[in-house]
Amino acid sequence: MTDAYDAIVVGAGHNGLVCATLLAKGGMSVLVLEANEQVGGAAVTREFADGYSVSACAHLLYQLQPAVQTELGFEPELACDSMATVSLAADGRHVRLTANAATGVSEDDGREYRAFRKRMNRFSDLLRTYLNKPPPRLGTKDRGDVMTLAQLGFDIRRLGKTEMREFLRLIGMNIHDELVERFESGPLKGALSLDAVLGTHLGPRSPNTIMTYLYRLAGNHGRLALPKGGMGAVSDELAHLARTAGVTIRTNAPVQRIVVRNGRVVGVETSDGERHESLTVISNADPKRTVMELLGARHVETGFARRVQHLRGSGNAAKLHLALDGLPTFEGLEKKDFAERLVIAPDEHYVERAFNPAKYGECSREPVVEMAFPSFRDPTLAPAGKHVLSAVVQYAPYGLKGGWDAAASDAFKRSVIGTIAKYAPDIEQRITASELLTPADIEGQFHIGGGHWHHAELTLDQFLFVRPLSGAAQYRMPIDGLYLCGAGTHPGGGVSGAAGRNAARSILSRRGGA
C-alpha cells in the first residue's frame, strides 16, 4: 500500500519529533517513521534489569532550548532541577560547583570561578542566538544570509573592545590553558575539563575545547536537570505534542531507503516494503547514514559524497547502568548529595591522560565518569529502597583495536566500576545488575553511525556554516526534497531540539516562498 504526506520524517528522535510538530503546526500533513519500538531515539527510558529503569543514552537535561519549549508549549516534569556538580577528590575534599559559585576551593578560585562563568555565560548567550537560527550560507547574495552574517559581526563587536578581543582569542583556544591560567584546584579544573570534552573525541588540551564548553552552556547556561520518568518521558511528551498537532507516528517501521525519481526525492520505503509518498523527506538520521545508506551515494555529486565520507563522527562515550540494592557510601558525601551530579575528573591532566589511549583505539585505563542517581529523587525508576546509577564514561573509542566484543566490553565495564570504587569502596557489593553500552552498542541500538552523541564531531571545521558539511549546512541536501534535522546538523547534539526547530523553520520558509 502507499499513502501520501506533505512531509515524512525519518526517525523519531527528539529533533525529528520537534521538527514534525512544527511542520504540522505550519499546516503540513506529517508522517514520522521510527525503526525502534519506542519513540525518542537516544532519549529513551528502558528497563535494563528487573524493576530498574534508566535513561538509556542521554540522561541529563541541560540544553533544551527555551525557544523550542515556548513554541511547542513544552514543560517537561523534572525530578531534580539545577543540580550542582560535585567533583570528587581522592582525599574526600570534594569541590561543589553551581552556576555561579564554587565551594571547597580557595577564595581566589571562588572569585575566579564567578568571573569565568560570568564571561562564559555572556559568550554562550551570544552563541545561543545563532544556534537557534539556520546558519547563513557564505558567498551568496541572499539577503537573509548577508543580514545574519552582518548581525553576527555586529553582535560580536557589541561585546565591546575588551570582551570582543577575549572572545576572538578564546574561541579557538583549548580549555586546558585557560583553566591553568585561572585556577589552582584540581577537581575544579577537572570538572570544567570534563564539561568541555564530554561526548567528543577531544581532550582538554585539544584546541577549540572552549568552544565545545560554550556550546554546552548555550542551552540555559548549562543548568542541569533530571526529567521525571527519565529521558523517555521527555520523548513521550514530545510525541504526545506531535500527535496533538496532527502528526502520524509509526514505530517499528525502519526506513530502508529514500525513494528517488527523476532526480528528486518522492518518498520512502520501509524494510517490509511499504511505500510512503512525499515530496519532502526529512532525515533525523546522521548525515553519513542518510546519504550513504538511505539515499545512495549515486544520487549526489562525487565531491559531495567524498566530503560525506570524510565527516568525522566516531563516538567515545560509553554508558554504564548499575542496579544497586542500596546507596553506596562515598567518602565525604552526605545523603542529599546523591541528588547532584557526581564527576570523576580529579584534575585536567587526569582527563587528558584518559584521552591519550583513545587516540590509538584503546580504552582509558582510568576513565572520566559523570554519574547521577536518578532513582534518588524519582522512585518510579527502581524498586523501593533500591537505586539506579547512570553514568557517562569516557573514553571508549568506537574504533576499538580488535573491535568491541563481549570480552572487551566486560573488561571496560570492570575498569569503570573499579574507578568508581576508588571513591565508593562498597559499590561492588551493592551491584545486583549492570549494563554497559559501548559506542558500538549505541550505533546498533539507536542507529547512530559511530555511536556519536553529536552524530558528527563538534569541532570548528564541522561547526556553524560548515556543519555537517558545506553544501548541506542549511538542512537542505543537494537533491530536491531531502532535508536533515538531526544532531549532525547545525547546531549539534544534546537534547536541545534546536536542530529540529531550525530545520522546520527553513522548510516552512521555503514553502512559504514557493
Binding site: 550560507r137 557564505l138 551568496t140 570582543m164 583556544m173 583549548n174 585539544s206 570548528l460
Partner: protein, 538 residues
Amino acid sequence: MKTYDAIVVGAGHNGLTTAAFLARAGLDVVCVEKNDYIGGAAVSRNLYEDWIYSNCSYVCSLLRPEIYRALELHKHGLQVTPYGGSVTFMENGDYFGSYHDAEVAYREMARFSRHDADAYKSYSADTMRQCRFIREFLLSTAPDPTSFKPSDIRELVKIGRKFLEMGEDRMYETIRFWTMSVAEYLDEYYETDVIKAAFSGSGIIGTALGIHSPGTAYVLLHHYMGEVDGNVGSWGFARGGMGAVSNSIAGAFRAAGGELRTEAGVDRIVVQGGKVTGVALENGDEISAGVVVSAMDVKRTFINCMDEKDLPAAFYRRVQNFKIRGSSGKLNIALDGLPTFPALPEGSSLIHSDMHFIDSMERMERAYDDWKAGTWSQDPYVDMLIPTLNDPTMAPPGKHFMSCFVQYCPHQLEGRRWTDEERDAFGRTVIDQIANYSPDFKDLILHVEVRTPQDIEEQIGITEGNIFHGELTMDQLLFNRPVPGYAQYRAPVGGLYLCGSSTHPGGGVMAAPGANAAREILADLKRPNTVPENFGDD
C-alpha cells in the same frame, strides 16, 4: 652622551631587518646584542675544530624574497642553494622518499598506493592555494577587528574580498583547513600510514601540539610557505650556514650607516613619563633614544626587561599568559665521514634531503604524549640533515656536519631543570634512533652538541627556547599575536615597539615581523617607507 634615533634590542634576523630598514630611512640606529656574536637563532658557530654548525635554525625557506631583494642580501654574501625532498625510514627496512620532481614523486608513492599517488596532485594544489591566500598577508600588519580606523577597516575589507573571491566551495575548504588537525587533513587525501607520517611532521615542528590537535593543518602551511627562487614550498641552505643570513642583513645595516654593539645585553628598557627614553645595559652603560625596538620575545621584553608598573595591568596579565612552549631540541654532530643508510639504493639523492625515522601516525602522536607527560619523546620525530653534502665549506674535506632537529623536548623535566646526565640521555635517544638505520653512524661521531630548550633559552635568550617565540595557535595568530589589541608592533608605552617572532606573522627565518615593524615605526615617525610591499604572486 650621544642620543640615537632608535635602539634595536637583539641582533637576530628580525632585529637586524628592522634596524636595516630604519637605517635606510636615514635614522641613526644602534643594534645591541647580548652575545659576542650576532644572529640570535640564525647563526653559524665554530664549536669544534674546523666545523661550522648552524646550531639553531638550519634551513631557510621562509625568508621573504621581497626582503632579500630590497636589502640586496646577495651583495652582502647571502647565497641560498635550494634543495628538496625527504626520506622516511621504516621499521620494516623499507623507506618512503618524497621528491621534488613530480614524475619521480608519483612513482615512489605508487610503490605504496596508486590511490595516494593520484591524490598527491590535488593535495599539493589545495595546500598551495591556502599558502597563496595567507602569504599575501605576511608582509602586512594584521588589522585590528575591534578598531574603526580606516586603515584597519581597509585591510579587513581586503581580506574579506580575497576570501569572497575564492567562491563558495573554496571558502568552506579554507575555513576547514584553518581549523582542522594535520592528521585529519592528510586523512582526506591519503591511505598509507607512512606517507601520512612523512607529511605530518611539518604540522608539528616547533609547536607544543600533536598531529591530532586541531589547528596543526595551519602549522603545516607555515612550513610550506617557503620560497627559494620563487619555488613555493622548496627549502634552501644558506652557504656558510644560517649565520650567513644574519651576517648579510647586518651587512646591509652597516652599509646604511647602522651601528652594531655585541656583548651589550640590555638590563632594562628605561621609561619616563609613559615614554621610553632608552635602555640600560647590563654593564651599567645607558643608551638613550626616542624609539626602542625589541626583537626579544614578548615575555622577555615586558617581564624581564621592564617594570610592571609601567604597563597596563590587563596587558601585563596577557603577556604572562602568552604561550611560549619549549617543545624542540637540537643535536649538532661533527662526523668523520658520511654515514651509510643501507635502506637507501646506491647513490640515492635522498641522502641530500631531510631524513625522518618515524613511519606511522601513531608513533608521531605518541611522541607528543611523552612531552605532555613532561619528558622528552622516547621515540622522537627527528628532522635530520647533512648540510655539508650541499655546502662543503661547513666541514673539512671528507668530513661532515649533521643537524638534527628533535620534536618533542620539554623546556624542563616535570617542571625542574635538566641535569647534564639527562641531557646526555636525551642525546643518546636521538643518536640511537638514527643508528637503527645507519650501522656505521655511531663510529663516525667526533663531537656532539646537545641543546635542550633550556639551553637555547639560556644561550640565545628566547623564553623556553621556543623557535617561534610563541605557539602558532589560533588564539596567538594574526590580530591576536602577541596580545589582542597590540598586534601592530606598538607596545602600550610611547616609543616602544616589538619586531620579533612573537609578533605577526610569527617565527621561522622569515624576517617579515622585522620588516612589518619597521614600516609601522617609519609611519609613526613620518619618515619615507623603505619597506617593500608584498609582491603578491603568480
